[in-house]
């Protein structure tokens, strides 16, 4: 089974991007269930899958748990873990959805009173980390010269 990825430029390098549908059953914003699309890239250098502050704000995701400090995009960031997030992607046939949910989904946020963190947190992207690849036993095929990438089980 293959999950196609888009290969496109981010900053100056080519990255492999997924288009992911996010749903938080039971969590509402203005009486509507929290749901939407985000576009993380597959980052094998990241142990965690995280949604950026900008994407979280866009999808009205809030997190209040005790955060961990991580170094991400050259600045320290808070990473909050939330549970119960349903993540789905479209398979190669474009008719089948595959559930790529993980037990702990990371939400990035700035560290208060840390100007570097505050500035950087809005500018970094969401990423699919190695945790998701491990849990779903995915391998990553990435051939930037032909702009081909996919996740495969």
């Amino acid at each position: 089974m293959k999950i196609p990825l888009d290969v496109r430029t981010y900053n100056e390098g080519l990255m492999s991007y997924a288009t992911v549908h996010l749903l938080m059953p039971g969590k509402k914003f203005h009486n509507a269930t929290i749901r939407g699309i985000f576009w993380p890239f597959v980052d094998t250098g990241s142990p965690f899958t995280v949604i950026s502050q900008t994407d979280a704000e866009r999808l009205h995701i809030t997190a209040f748990d005790t955060p961990r400090v991580i170094l991400f995009g050259g600045a320290e960031q808070y990473k909050y873990d939330i549970k119960g997030v349903v993540l789905k992607v479209s398979c190669e046939d474009k008719h089948t959805m595959y559930d790529v949910s993980i037990p702990n989904f990371g939400v990035l946020g700035p560290i208060p009173n840390n100007p570097k963190s505050i500035q950087a947190s809005k500018r970094v992207p969401s990423v699919i980390g190695v945790d998701l690849l491990l849990i779903h036993k995915f391998s990553l095929y990435f051939k930037p010269c032909e702009r081909i990438a996919y996740l495969e089980q």
């Binding site: 496109r8 549908h21 749901r35 939407g36 699309i37 576009w39 479209s90 970094v124 990423v127």
Partner: protein
Amino acid sequence: MLQTELEELKKVQKTNEYINKSYDFLKEKYSKQFIAIKDGKVIAHNEDLDAVFKLLKSKRINPATVFIEFLHPRDMVLVL
């Protein structure tokens, strides 16, 4: 539910195609700004993210299916 999710993913296909095709152009034109793209069009851009969200709200556009990204200037390379 499954159908809705697939439909929602299909709806952003135009946005994906536009970003893949136009990223270099967008990076030149909107350098150091946040851009918001929906249905294959730039619908908002500003150096301030809050201003982008305010504009979407004023146009009654749900940001949940809008692509928003900061375009780093050429002289700043972000290594993650």
